[in-house]
Amino acid sequence: VSEMLSAQGFGGPGKMKEYHYAGAVENRFSPYAFNGGTVLAVAGEDFAVVASDTRLSEGYSIHSRDSPKCYKLTDTTVIGCSGFHGDCLTLTKIIDARLKMYKHSNNKTMTSGAIAAMLSTILYSRRFFPYYVYNIIGGLDEEGKGAVYSFDPVGSYQRDTYKAGGSASAMLQPLLDNQIGFKNMEGVQHLPLTQEKAVQLVKDVFISAAERDVYTGDALRVCVITKDGINEQTIPLRKD
């Protein structure tokens, strides 16, 4: 998968660089870099959980151990952005600006669904030079139920119950499918997810991700969104 490659030498997904003389090679400047990180969001009956690790890496180096990828947008919405950090920063600045504009012209805060639809058009307006960001929005919808919206880098989105994005997403998503979606299990009782169980599951899942993904680790930032507000906690992860 393309996330495994460093910015310098992607010869296509999964291809190793060949170490024999192959003729003249053009090393183009790539405007993208891959800074790693994993985000995860889970929607419950009346709550939503958005979590991300806090490692910022590039190639073999770690730039920072304290760079969380969850950004608070409104009192009921948090966005997690992972991928290229430069694009994450600009994208969140643009979303904040658009939120303020909406608030000033419509005298109300944007709902989670509206933010998701707006983000889709923002991402698609850069269809030919995309923001290299995997976004996941978690929040409460108008009825107070948990909502998770997951995006691809060019703006395709849909509402889910749970989603993992970023470098360890391919490892975490099947685990969530099994534990929250009860998929691939026969004869299991489908218990609704409580807030405590969801947070514990998220912690366990990130600990597993930090074991096997080099770009995930250092610390975990969990944001729990309920009608009473947003509650943040930080849990340490492996630092190696």
């Binding site: 643009i94 923002i122 269809r127 030079f129 995309p130 691809d152 395709s156 849909q158 391919a170």
Partner: protein, 342 residues
């Protein structure tokens, strides 16, 4: 500066060679210009940023350069894959139109989402099935819904399915040659006396010809069920510029398998249940053989009263039922053989 750009204090660009605002190089995408309603239906209703490379414009412009790099890439090389791969189908029969699709969205080798909606209703008598790149399809469907609704509000009548297909095709045209990959099938029921144009019948498949609707409103087609201008219609529009009306359309990586099943079983006189089960079977066989299609099947049935969505079915169950049926048939055959031989 960056903050200036974000707050939209921009100067008018010095040169405007093209009438399409989409091709202006624009560093901000707050789309304040676009928050006003789209005044015209032609051109691109979405403000899209084109990266400022020498070969960035799709039109061969007056600024000729003697050296044209061989890889004419409109886009920056992307380090991630986009979602692709699907099976969708639509066909007409005496009871209306059936539109069916699988629900898998794949990005490279990963299943990005196992439960996507590939069939979207546009209005009460029209649905569109999408195939190609997920984001492109989703956005272009939204744009199409918006433009059709605007037309309806401005002209107090609904756009015909043919005209919707034409509108979509023209909106996609500026992006021909770029990375945009959209293959939509408009499936719907056209009320009698659909809005515009004369139609020439070329046998079974009628190609939509560009005959303008000069005031021949008196020539509205009487309620002829086999006329291609009213009743059930299936029209395929793609970002390469193709626009085709037909009786059976199947799109995507799994379409060869779907066509095989449909061609084998389809006829005009099928009942509604038979048609639905044929469509399900076609998608099921395609998902079985095509790696990029799978998970569930969505089915819509459109008739004169509008569209009805059937509940989504998991194809895993269908696969096990199929195995059951096969082993039952084998058991019965064995029983018959032993009875005959004795």
């Amino acid at each position: 500066m960056a903050l200036e750009d974000i707050c939209c204090f921009k100067d008018k660009p010095a040169q405007q060679l093209f009438p399409f605002p989409a091709l202006e190089t624009d560093y901000h995408n707050l789309e304040l210009e676009r928050l006003k309603t789209s005044q015209t239906n032609w051109g691109d209703p979405q403000h899209i940023f084109i990266p400022p490379f020498p070969q960035a414009t799709p039109f061969i412009s007056r600024r000729t350069s003697r050296f044209r790099p061989p890889n004419h890439a409109l886009t920056v090389q992307r380090p991630f894959p986009l979602s692709h791969g699907t099976t969708t189908l639509g066909f007409i029969f005496q009871g209306g139109v059936i539109a069916a699709a699988d629900t898998r969205a794949s990005a490279g080798g990963l299943v990005a989402c196992p439960a996507v909606h590939k069939i979207t209703p546009i209005h009460s008598h029209l649905v569109v099935t999408s195939s190609g790149s997920g984001a492109d399809c989703m956005l272009w469907e939204r744009i199409l819904i918006r433009e059709i609704r605007l037309y309806e509000l401005r002209h107090k009548r609904r756009l015909s399915i043919r005209a919707s297909a034409k509108l979509l095709s023209f909106m996609l045209h500026p992006f021909k040659g770029t990375d945009v990959c959209v293959a939509l099938t408009l499936c719907g029921w056209e009320k009698e006396g659909g809005s515009s144009g004369l139609v020439h019948n070329f046998g079974n498949q009628s190609l939509v010809t560009d005959v303008s609707s000069s005031g021949t409103a008196g020539n509205t087609s009487a309620a002829d069920p086999l006329s291609p201008n009213s009743g059930p219609q299936v029209i395929y529009v793609c970002s390469d510029g193709a626009r085709l009306q037909g009786d059976i359309i199947s799109v995507g990586s799994g379409s060869p398998y779907a066509y095989g099943v449909l061609d084998g079983g389809l006829s005009w006189g099928l009942s509604k249940e038979e048609a639905i089960s044929l469509a399900r079977e076609a998608v099921f066989r395609a998902t079985h053989r095509d790696a990029y299609s799978g998970n569930n099947v969505d089915l819509f049935h459109i008739d004169a009263q509008g569209w009805i969505q059937r509940p989504r079915e998991d194809l895993k169950e269908e696969y096990y039922r199929e195995l059951e049926r096969r082993s039952k048939r084998r058991r019965e055959k064995k029983k018959r053989d032993t009875i005959e031989s004795s």
